[in-house]
Symmetry: none
Subunit: 413 residues, 2 copies
Amino acid sequence: MKAELISVGTEILLGEITDTNAVKLGQFLAQKGIDVVNRQTVGDNKERIEEALEIATRRSDLIITIGGLGPTEDDLTKDAVADFVGDQLIFDQNTLDKITDYFEKSNIEITSNNKKQAEVFANGGTLANGIGLAAGSFIENNNHTYVVLPGPPSEFTPMVNGSFNQFLITRFNLNQQIKSKTLHFVGIGESLLADKLDDLINRQTNPTIALYFKDTDVTVRLTAKGTEEPEIDQLLNQTESDINKLVGEFYYSDEDEIDFPSFVTQELIKRELSITSAESLTGGLFQSTIVGVAGASNIFPGGYVTYSDASKHSLLGVSEATISDNTVVSGPVAKEMAIGAKNLMGTSIGVSFTGVAGPDGLEGHPAGEVWIGLALPNGDTVQNKYVFNGNRQKIRQRSVNKAFELIWRLILK
Amino acid sequence: MKAELISVGTEILLGEITDTNAVKLGQFLAQKGIDVVNRQTVGDNKERIEEALEIATRRSDLIITIGGLGPTEDDLTKDAVADFVGDQLIFDQNTLDKITDYFEKSNIEITSNNKKQAEVFANGGTLANGIGLAAGSFIENNNHTYVVLPGPPSEFTPMVNGSFNQFLITRFNLNQQIKSKTLHFVGIGESLLADKLDDLINRQTNPTIALYFKDTDVTVRLTAKGTEEPEIDQLLNQTESDINKLVGEFYYSDEDEIDFPSFVTQELIKRELSITSAESLTGGLFQSTIVGVAGASNIFPGGYVTYSDASKHSLLGVSEATISDNTVVSGPVAKEMAIGAKNLMGTSIGVSFTGVAGPDGLEGHPAGEVWIGLALPNGDTVQNKYVFNGNRQKIRQRSVNKAFELIWRLILK
């Protein structure tokens, strides 16, 4: 079977966005054993979409369009496919209900364009969109299969893994199974991890081993193929064990969708360790990250954003002499901030941040210099100095990530 | 003139690499006023490359291939183009000398495949490669221009900006200029804005009008073409004025790279209006957003994250009776939080958030119900109830965005 992708969007042609959807779909189909032999990219123009469909139909069996399902005049893909195969568009009632409900709740007037997103092929089927409003759809015509998928990556990816995947399995009797396992690591750089796993990655093809890197979080994704589940599990477990022999000390979780701050927060909740924070340069980012995890109220009563020197004294009780003797970006100030917050809120742990986010330096400290303080459950305190690279946002984010790593290493591990 | 890109590489189709070259070339050509109307991606297969050339020749004037110029058996692009236009390949002597020199210095035996990289079209010309070994080339045939560029981004980008750019200027007498202007709107959904601008967008082609949507922020990008700058400015200003007649009440800025929270924070800094916050469900996200803007220390001394009911009382002085009489997700609590924070920090403005981020409801309030309180510089207070859709993070982000909108409407505008 030959597959062909048609990405729709003038903004892709103009280079305003990068077509990551086509990249992901190419990978996804390759894993299923379906070869993508051609990809076309066309603007938001009905004639050009139809021309692309005509070209694709001459040489491919499975034709997948990406994008152009939204509510604007530019969103023409379903119209073009329906015209091309000689079908009509009808409303999918479930999707229409969802759209109506969404606009009623938001108190926004619903337009006919909004409703357009519920359209599917009359003689085809619906691919449910779990995240957004635009339904996907498919239709068979003259031994060709046409599938339309939405463009926003946050909707595209879940649909590919969900309703589109199910459609492929059913439609093409795919009996090869694919199973993935994600291993998460922290505190080791991507290139060092790649170095340590190099032999293993080159030696084997099933499972494949792919590395992903995001902030301080390194993810290793194993993908195994086979016809029987126990056989696949055995392959995955063997490789996981091989990997952990090499870099097990940096491993923290094999949950599919977890990031390190959420993992640490969930561990705090499980162990009933309450936490507070006093944040200067991070301005609430650490506490906001904790609150991002459902159930945070069990361990997080609240905390402080003490951006000015005066507020560190008046809100947390940091001594004015400590600030003037050491400057505000210093270990003693970080220590008093962490202890102050912990005592005032009555928690097990207090975390403090004081540093320079930049772009300019402060009182002789360069941008990127950050002190993180940790008041521990046993009454001890730790305050460490770091120098982070990057712009203002990166420095703040790296400070927060590092604090979670400290909590993990010093308290949880 | 219509341009079409043909990216060559099986690894692109399989999603093993992302085709950043096509993104950059799309941007580059758009800036030159050359429209890319189609992009094709094909594997390393001579027949498929020729098929792509044939399709492109039917509809485009300038046809640019990317990739497939290297020394391996898979590198077939020049052969395919030469066959397609009925030309021969000859060695470019400068490139051949460079290749010979390189292999002699490296003490590696030079193969005929290595020499292949020096080939150019016999009846065309050479595009010098300043970084790598493979020469680019171009040829004219039947009123079409064919250009072959190398695939490695480290070679591709310098060639685009160097020899390819020079070629375009000479070949097409480019004196057309392009200028863009970005208009930012807030408080209006994308579909409603698209609806209101529908006629205008359909009626005109210069400037083009493109809509972009991100959170609560809607951006309209005008791109005008012309030969003289005053003429282009006039076109842009006329369209801007037409747009503002229709949706001017939602307009806030024409700065290129601005988002709404940063705009509001910068306005507060300009007007020396100090601000603090007491955040419950948002957990510090509002304050962290303010601190994300350089210079925030001039107007933001710090604030509170009061996640538990107890902390709203102990840190902000919200009366326990107000909480028990109204529940914690209520206007009176939002009001006391905003006033409490403002008075304690001595700022001009106090902003409060209390609500339910979900996934579960709280004390009879559904997930998404949020009260935002605003203590104004004149001593008045406003507290509004909202119901936001989305998951936990979306609800928190939308609460923060709405607060910035309130500050703008009630204080700054």
